[in-house]
């Protein structure tokens, strides 16, 4: 009896000790939590007080630099109309800058204007001009420098060296901007939109003209370029290199000095674009150099000296495009292999296809050629005899350009007919065995 009573009392003692320590522990935890909550509240990113700072000639704050200095992460900076001669404005906080009344920020031909060094920055409604030309510094109207999640939207850029220069940035949006370059010598012009080593950028709805290259990408990936209008730039309307997995939809590239050049990239998709009016001996509607595993589809190539020039490119599908009134629709060099041309319309081109190889390892099938003079007796919509799109004449003028003077002569018509009847010199592997009788719509 005594033993069990002692056991009970021991148990009770133990239990009360346990309760004591538990409650002490509980108190400690509660106070710790209270301390933590109040201290992190002080460190929390400010959703609490999103300030709006107004910069303007009639405000207390008269310069953009001062406005940025006073701002904190999450704040809004409104810049009122007027001219601000400020350069090297560094944005090192996550703020939104909005222009009201078309404020002009002038780099005075000496400086870079805005340098964005924080993520989550937005710039909207500004007019930025005169970023300085330099042989060493790529001065830009806006430079996005190794940050992410920035938006440049609805701004107007005039006479800048480089306009939007994005280096090592990701997840940014460049939308609906108007860019007008100096339109002077190539050596003193920068590019309109320039991406270097970027990821996941969307470039949409911009208008670019008068720069060296309208849109330029280098070493970037997963970029979407859509609905842009790139016209009258000194060199290329679009120029990219070493940039895989990028997509280009519904853009217009018109009358640029050398057309569009795309190089050394894989998994490229170009759909619904217009390549127009690119004339000149080194000007191409679309230059494909060392492009692999890519698709060029539903594009419109109109009035170019050369529509598509392909060199060193492999596994490229070129389908459902329309080539109208080009000097030479497709120039396919021997270094390109395994490209498939199907469902394209070739209409009104002086030359449909030219090549420098005697043995083409590329495929043409089921295209519509307006120069096709075959017949379709079984009415299946497919010509009964194959079409060889390379004219002997194109090989003659490749070697001896002055022979072009005979382009519309009777002699050349006879030469074409003879070659068609007995193909001797044109590559017999470059043939469309199923030419369509009607346009592809």
């Amino acid at each position: 009896m005594k033993a069990s009573r002692r056991k009970n009392s021991v148990q009770r003692h133990f239990a009360s000790e346990l309760i004591g320590t538990m409650s002490r522990l509980f108190l400690v935890l509660v106070s710790l939590h209270a301390i933590l909550v109040t201290s992190t509240d002080a460190l929390a990113t400010p959703d609490h007080s999103q300030k709006e700072i107004v910069v303007g000639k009639n405000s207390r704050i008269k310069s953009i630099k001062e406005g940025i200095q006073l701002a904190k992460n999450g704040d809004r900076l409104v810049i009122k109309g007027g001219v601000y001669a400020e350069g090297n404005i560094v944005i090192d906080k996550s703020i939104t800058i909005i222009g009201e009344g078309q404020p002009e920020i002038d780099g005075q031909n000496r400086f870079e204007v805005f340098t964005v060094r924080a993520s989550y920055v937005t710039l909207k409604g500004l007019v930025i001009k005169n970023a300085g030309i330099s042989s060493i510094h790529d001065n830009a109207a806006i430079r996005i420098d190794e940050v992410s999640n920035c938006t440049i939207e609805n701004n107007r850029f005039v006479h800048n060296f480089f306009t939007i220069y994005s280096a090592k940035a990701s997840d940014c949006l460049l939308k609906d901007n108007e860019i007008i370059g100096y339109d002077s010598a190539e050596s003193s012009s920068g590019n309109g939109i320039h991406l270097w080593d970027c990821r996941n950028i969307v470039i949409s709805g911009n208008r670019v003209s008068g720069q060296r290259d309208g849109i330029y990408l280098e070493f970037s990936r997963n970029v979407v370029i859509r609905d842009n209008h790139s016209e009258k730039n000194l060199r290329y309307g679009l120029h990219f290199m070493f940039s895989d997995s990028c997509k280009y939809f519904n853009n217009q590239f018109i009358n640029n000095g050398a057309g569009v050049a795309v190089m050394y990239s894989r998994f490229v998709e170009m759909k619904g674009n217009r390549f127009e009016s690119n004339w000149g001996p080194a000007s191409f509607g679309l230059l494909l150099k060392d492009i692999k595993d890519s698709r060029i589809t539903e594009n419109y190539l109109y009035k170019n000296t050369v529509g598509i020039y392909s060199e060193g490119s492999t596994k490229v599908t070129v389908d459902k495009n329309t080539f109208i009134r080009n000097g030479l629709a497709v120039k396919l060099m021997a270094s390109s292999t395994d490209s498939h041309f199907t469902g394209n319309n070739f209409m009104g081109n002086s030359f449909d296809v030219a090549t420098n190889s005697s043995h083409s390892l590329n495929y043409f099938e089921s295209n519509y050629w307006d120069n096709y003079k075959g017949y379709d007796l079984n009415k299946d919509g497919i010509g009964d005899i194959p079409f060889l799109p390379v004219r002997l004449y194109s090989m003659i003028i490749a070697d001896y350009p002055p022979a072009l003077i005979l382009l519309r002569s009777f002699f050349i018509d006879i030469l074409d007919m003879a070659e068609r009847a007995f193909p001797a010199l044109t590559p017999e592997t470059l043939v469309d065995k199923k030419p369509l009788m009607r346009r592809v719509t």
Partner: protein, 152 residues
């Protein structure tokens, strides 16, 4: 002078004149904005990085960057009798023998095809640039190896 003598002198003069046009050929100026690069087909537009190859027969091939010239040399391999020329970054009006120039490879100096190579006639000028911009100073053979490795 008799008639035949005059004719003989004219033929001699003509002969000397044609022979004078043979001989060592040098580089010709690049028409920036017009000429296109033999290797990558881009229009040569940056004066700081132009390069040329002059064949033993006097044919001139132009390149928009030093790495394109190196790429072409690597691909062609046999360049006997040809001369290679690069623009001196510090003196843009001059073509320099590529095999004797010093080269700066630096991330801060972007060249047209992304390998960031610039050429200098004087090695100490290259070293000064190295101090300002970082990177490394190499020889022509190093450039050939570097481009070969990068563009396999």
């Amino acid at each position: 002078m008799g008639k035949t003598e005059r004719i003989l002198w004219m033929i001699l003069a003509l002969g000397i004149w044609t022979l004078l046009s043979c001989g060592k050929h040098g580089p010709e100026p690049i028409a920036y904005g017009k000429d296109s690069c033999t290797y990558c087909r881009m229009i040569v537009s940056d004066r700081k990085f132009g390069a040329e190859l002059v064949t033993s027969k006097g044919k001139i091939l132009k390149f928009d960057s030093i790495e394109c010239l190196a790429g072409y040399v690597n691909k062609t391999r046999d360049i006997n009798g040809h001369s290679l020329w690069v623009v001196d970054y510090s003196n843009l009006s001059k073509f320099v023998d590529a095999t004797r120039a010093s080269y700066l490879v630096s991330e801060k100096i972007h060249s047209p095809m992304g390998l960031n190579i610039s050429a200098f006639e004087q090695k100490d000028v290259a070293n000064r640039m190295l101090n300002n911009y970082g990177g490394r100073v190499v020889s022509w053979n190093d450039v050939l190896d570097y481009v070969q490795q990068k563009w396999k």
